[in-house]
Subunit: 200 residues, 2 copies
């Protein structure tokens, strides 16, 4: 019997390994990603995995970046909607993502990314990109926003993160739509307080 | 020459080691606490330190708990003030603490506590205690507050955490008092939105 083994390019192999890593993180957390399990699932040896990612940390950073991209892609919004509707759609998608990818989300936002500065940086960058996207989605340029507005929007993203975690932990105690409305109102109040801006 | 060595009780020795740990964390982060440095500073051997704290993790959890107590004590407020004034005093003290204990604060709130579930629990408990204290300081009982109000206040604590971190990172770009006012207004708006409550 002849078994056909697929020969992957270097980039395809890296992508496959990252994808498996994202799946493992989705079931557990960054700390629990077992390099051996990922290698076994890919049908390669542990040492070959380390050929693609020199250290466990390199691999985890690549997985964290892929998770962050997944979150950002899943919560992207329809630019043809009115700004206020876009904000609501973004929040709905955010909570739906959090609900469906519970563990991956918790491990990304709850410090389960470890004390590792490289993972922390992925997390910070994701929070920052979310803040910029939200403000720009409402039609306000990030770069020209006053420092206090930027601080307020970034802090509001942290607010939404904790609201999502609390919502998950409450197990149905609070309705998804109430969390969406709360977050929507909070942002609208913050913009009004910091810059007299009204969500269009 | 006779050197007098102070003989400490077990509890005194533990407290001394924790205190040294808090100082080391204050200068760097949880991840960087060197057991050897702490033992050397206390004038004891590494193995004797492990006699008081069986593992590095046990020691770090004790240090994190002491840091959290320090934060809570430093931000306690005068109960004779009116509720709204107490909130403002608490926020001022919070930002002053954050400013003076920069590294310790960052390492406690920025996931630098690592993927360790025991450290994560200390962090969660601190956020929760802050939320309860703030709501009760305003004269509203935590236990009888609607789930959405509790979620909003916990999320607001996360908002204040990120606002503090952004304020520190901005290096004077935003005034401390503007952050205090923003946080104050945000909580007042949230309570009004979730429960028609007015900050007294």
């Amino acid at each position: 019997m002849v078994r056909t083994r697929t020969r992957l390019t270097r980039e395809q192999r890296r992508a496959q390994l990252i994808d498996l890593g994202v799946q493992v993180v989705g079931r557990s957390s960054f700390d629990d990603v077992s390099i051996d399990d990922v290698a076994a699932a890919a049908g390669i040896s542990r040492s070959l995995l380390f050929h693609y990612f020199p250290t466990r940390r390199d691999f985890l950073v690549a997985v964290a970046e892929a998770s962050a991209e997944e979150l950002l892609a899943a919560t992207d919004t329809d630019p043809s909607l009115r700004p206020g509707e876009r904000l609501r759609q973004g929040l709905e998608r955010y909570l739906d993502y959090v609900g469906s990818r519970r563990e991956a989300y918790l491990s990304l936002v709850r410090g389960a990314t470890g004390g590792d500065p490289a993972l922390q940086e992925v997390f910070d960058r994701t929070r920052q990109r979310n803040a910029e996207r939200v403000l720009e989605g409402l039609g306000f340029a990030w770069a020209s926003a006053p420092p206090l507005v930027r601080l307020a929007v970034r802090s509001w993203v942290a607010f939404v993160e904790e609201a999502s975690v609390s919502w998950l932990a409450g197990d149905g105690e609070v309705a998804r739509d109430d969390v969406v409305t709360l977050a929507e109102q909070a942002l609208s109040d913050l913009l009004e307080r910091t810059a007299d801006l009204t969500v269009p």
